[in-house]
Symmetry: C2
Subunit: 664 residues, 2 copies
């Protein structure tokens, strides 16, 4: 609460649960809540981190402002002796893509994961003190997802004991790496290792890009910014770069050599470190993406929900106020499933954190048995949550009506900043195809191999294929077991059907390609089983606070029954549900919406987002929307003068019919 | 074709139809094609209309640049003596929202439709010569769709024979009207007419906003820009405004008085001009929106299709090139339905043009019988096409992978400029609810009243409710009658089911509100019948050119069977299709994709978009993507210097560990 009159107080009074307890449930623990709350407020109260005016700045000014924030944040981190966890939260709440994201999320973890002990000793202290600033240069102008197709070369020169990093073609130019255009002094560059004319796979190399004294690019290195990206401020605070290498020499010990080495003699040696260790990082990165999805979606939902309570349209009776748009069923049927999704993604993200710890422990014990399943499951959840979040943010914008189109609504910037999540770290469709490969394999082995982890439900394949849903009333849908079983049956049946159709192809790869669109649908069905099941598991835990668990149960049913309605084609086509049962689920959904309604504002308050983080006039905590919109308009620098630049030159001659003699 | 090497020539050679003839089919006629082609090239070849650098400009610079373009365009219109139709096309191809849109699409038509003969004689010549610049001020800060809820007042003062225009509250401030913030000299202001303390409905008033000599706002008028909107350049070339009136006096004869008048004595008089005449304008505006949807979608599809042929990922065999992404079924299953949708929307838009002429003729003959149906049908098609287009543009962006996120891909700007279409001229959900009201009425009257126009198919309600689909093979889906019948049966059954459920409510309005989400789904099903049927009607006409009709047939089936798959839940739930039949349709869809594949590039070439209009490096006609992306990056002003502003101040002190003493 940020002081002043609370225009949403009546809404807040309607809540049927303990909001403070729900905040803890959302955060994961009281400790996590207090930590986030403290750091969020630290950022919100510091005027240097102001971000509302960001979209009005030109690119250079925007970038400079962002560099200033990063420096200020680093000063705070040192002065306040913040822990690594606190520093990470600080960067999160500053909410502005910057080169430090690369430093802490990519450069340092890559060295930790792929560097030798010696390399770690040398580079990690430099990076952790910001004495070097590193980025991560994998993607090329002509190559995205397919790492094995990268063209950049690293050729060993035995005479000088160096690698020669080179961009042999235009399309081999590194393209996208954040931070590199203007800031990074170093980068981990992925390149094809060439020893004595032989290709030995793609590896990472630490390459210095800039002179540490005067910041100019080193000889042989051409570097620049790749240009404006979607949105006003958005990701344009980041200097995504293009890098071209012209025979740049680096010492041999700057190849990351934990897994493979090149000896002084130029021999390629594979160490006994299992390559699978690298997959641990992938699980880590993806669980973070899922956690971020719930955060981003919750922001959009918070804005749209609050504004839907403020905004009134139509239906005035006897000259009274119009109806709050949140009371319209069409609004509820679009908004509340997204509210429920934010919670669902939050809980599945929490579970993924546990999965990462589990995978790490097993890897350390040389147990790789769960890795394929963890790999598929995290790929699928990355895809499901980021696609739903990107679409959900845009839906929330539309749910704000015309005003959602204003940058001051906060949603356009959120959308533009968020959407890359659908393509980075693995395109979402490619991810779902990875899930499909795993599913098809799982199904084909059902006869002799027990499926594990999130596919364990397929052990009950016979039952799931044969018995159909028994629901006879709308009320009977309010049973977690019934709901989960429906999702499991649909997923199993779709996966088995895909397996059967694939078996008809002589060439399995051709079959996989031909049926890929259907395989993606089957994968999505499986991933929805995971989200739904993990929500149920959460509900089986103790959740303190008056009414908290009850509301989460309502949200669970909203999430699941909304999906069931959306994908009713699958449920009907697989024969698990009858049209009548699907229709009963939809009836129940409407009842659930009325249960959410009085709690809607309190449910978005429970995200504990500061007004700074939301950066949205429509989503203000106090609901004081219209006066603040009006005020913001007149504070826009474009309104400095009543007569805009260009009026005298280009408009007045037209009005005076003197355009023919005007100089344009 | 813009000269130089054509990197897509092999793709163009694969086409199995006459591209030039398809261009004519797309344009509607040879004459229409030649006209558009001539004006498009006129714009493309004029350096003043360059728009590629737009996203890099600050707001003021962007706006000034836009004023310059408008003045230059007006000069061209006069110098080249362009007809009104040519001038309209010129503005379309300049592709930049500006105050002239309001002048020609809103201000002038409103006076033509709602003004008396005397008002037309006075104001139209002034406006047509640009001696006054008018906008259209309806929406208020607190009021969008609900015109009857507007708060601005126009109180007649019999002493001075004037109206007093006033904004009694903050929320009554006019908000959004384009052109008003900085340019418009006049506006048609919608306000509550008050005569002797009595409210007499909402009417339009011509209000002068600015002094014609020095362009300053007149006394009592506070005006400003409402701030940045979504996107970089996008709609920010338009000065959408806020206006607040403080007792502004205007002459009585500036109320638009064709339908209602206020006499010198302050009496309210209703003329015998039927109010329905005003609805003609609504049909006109909506048919234009549908036509624009097909144009916008075709641009995004053109970019994504060309880049999908250029871009290669994975699947290299024996060191050969990787596979073109357009060859992946997952890509085809997302891209080709959008390609087909662009054609479908084009043809339904063409039909709507005819409908508008028909409605106009009937109105002139005082025949209002078809008006409710035309009203519902245009509302529904506006909603269907704009929603699908907005989603489709974003999907095309994703289909371009990471590079789609660059503004230089052209898609972010297209998306940001396009999305308001989903909320303006009636929010898309509100539109669908209007369709629903009409459908429910139609269904309830089926016993005694013949449905007309696009609902005529419901005359066969008994057959459509009873007989189910007879398809037994995938091949049998290739029958327009079979396809249309499926859509008609699904729509009829959904509408009838809604009617039955509504009948159970005691209060019909409550029932309508409660079931509104389902009613929206039934409305969509009905609108899809219209699009599918109009595509079939197009195919029944003569379409010259080798292979042209055959390819359009393929696109028809892609469009229809894709929808059938997407909404298979409806088709199965209504019992019209069996799961087997739905699955056969999906099998046929995959076969159709392979028929589209060799023609894909030629099908997007047939839109005849210039590189100027696309403003996209990924969608270049010649496919020379990567060198041009590289070139554009280094032409970006942000790359003027290797050392960005802020590096010395905020980055170097950090690297040198001297941050503690730096001034931030």
């Amino acid at each position: 609460m940020e002081g002043g009159v609370d225009y949403l107080i009546d809404e807040r009074k309607k809540a049927q649960f303990d909001v403070e307890a729900m905040k803890v449930a959302w955060a994961g623990s009281r400790q996590a809540f207090e930590l986030s709350d403290r750091i969020a407020k630290l950022v919100a109260n510091d005027p240097i981190f102001e971000k509302f005016s960001r979209p009005m700045l030109g690119r250079k000014e925007l970038f400079k402002n962002s560099l200033r924030k990063v420096a200020h944040a680093w000063k705070l981190i040192i002065d306040l002796r913040l822990s690594e966890e606190e520093a990470k939260l600080l960067r999160h709440y500053i909410d502005e893509p910057a080169y430090t994201d690369l430093q802490w999320e990519m450069f340092i973890p890559a060295i930790e994961g792929q560097g030798t002990e010696e390399q770690k000793r040398k580079w990690l202290p430099l990076a952790r003190k910001m004495q070097v600033i590193g980025s991560y240069a994998q993607t090329e102008l002509g190559h995205g997802s397919n790492v094995q197709g990268l063209e950049t070369t690293a050729t060993f020169d035995p005479q000088t004991d160096e690698f020669v990093i080179h961009s042999p073609t235009l399309t081999s130019s590194k393209w996208w790496p954040g931070g590199t255009a203007k800031v990074s002094t170093h980068a981990i560059v992925y390149a094809r290792l060439i020893l004595d004319g032989q290709f030995h796979g793609v590896h990472g190399f630490i390459v210095q890009l800039r002179n540490l004294e005067n910041h100019t690019p080193l000889p042989g290195i051409t570097v620049g910014d790749i240009g404006m990206k979607f949105g006003n401020g958005a990701y344009n605070t980041m200097d995504n770069g293009v890098i071209r290498f012209n025979h740049v020499h680096i010492p041999r010990n700057q190849m990351l050599m934990r897994v493979s080495q090149v000896t002084r003699e130029g021999k390629f040696v594979q160490s006994d470190v299992p390559r699978q260790l690298l997959y641990g990082t992938m699980v880590y990165v993806r669980q973070k993406i899922v956690a971020d999805a719930s955060k981003a979606l919750s922001r959009a939902v918070c804005i749209a929900t609050r504004y839907s309570a403020v905004r009134r349209q139509f239906g005035s009776r006897n000259g009274g106020p119009e109806i709050q748009v949140i009371d319209y069923k069409t609004q509820q049927s679009r908004l509340f499933p997204l509210l429920a999704s934010a919670y669902a993604f939050r809980f599945v993200g929490e579970w993924l954190k546990w999965l990462y710890t589990d995978v790490k422990q097993r890897l350390e014990a040389n147990d790789f048995s769960t890795l394929p399943e963890a790999h598929a499951c995290t790929a699928g959840l990355k895809s499901l949550t980021t696609s739903a979040t990107a679409d959900g943010i845009e839906e929330c914008r539309k749910l704000c009506g015309g005003h959602g189109y204003l940058v001051s609504s906060g949603i356009p910037e959120l959308f533009a900043t968020y959407v890359p999540a659908c393509t980075f770290e693995g395109d979402n469709v490619v991810m779902m195809l990875q899930v499909a490969r795993f599913l098809v394999k799982t199904v084909s082995e059902l006869g002799y191999k027990q499926p594990v982890g999130t596919t364990a439900y397929m052990r009950r394949v016979t039952a799931l294929m044969q018995s159909n849903c028994a629901v006879r009333t709308a009320e009977e849908w309010l049973n977690p077991g019934v709901v989960v079983e429906a999702f499991e049956a649909r997923s199993t049946r779709m996966a088995v059907a895909c397996g059967q159709r694939l078996a008809k192809f002589e060439n399995p790869e051709e079959g996989f390609a031909e049926l890929s669109a259907d395989l993606v649908e089957a994968s999505l069905a499986h991933c929805q089983v995971i989200v739904v099941s993990k929500f149920v598991e959460k509900l089986q835990q103790e959740i303190p606070g008056k009414g908290v668990k009850r509301l989460l149960e309502v949200l669970f049913y909203v999430y699941a029954l909304f999906l069931l309605h959306k994908h009713q084609g699958d449920f009907l086509a697989t024969g698990y549900l009858t049209p009548k049962q699907a229709s009963l689920a939809n009836d129940q959904l409407r009842i659930l919406y009325s249960k959410v309604r009085p709690n809607a504002i309190a449910l978005v308050d429970s995200f504990n987002h500061t007004d700074h983080l939301l950066s949205s006039i429509l989503g203000r905590y106090d609901g004081n929307v219209y006066p603040k919109l009006y005020e913001a308009a007149f504070n826009d620098p474009f309104n400095d003068s009543d007569i805009a630049d260009g009026i005298h030159q280009y408009v007045q001659p037209m009005l005076r019919q003197e355009l023919h003699s005007a100089k344009l």
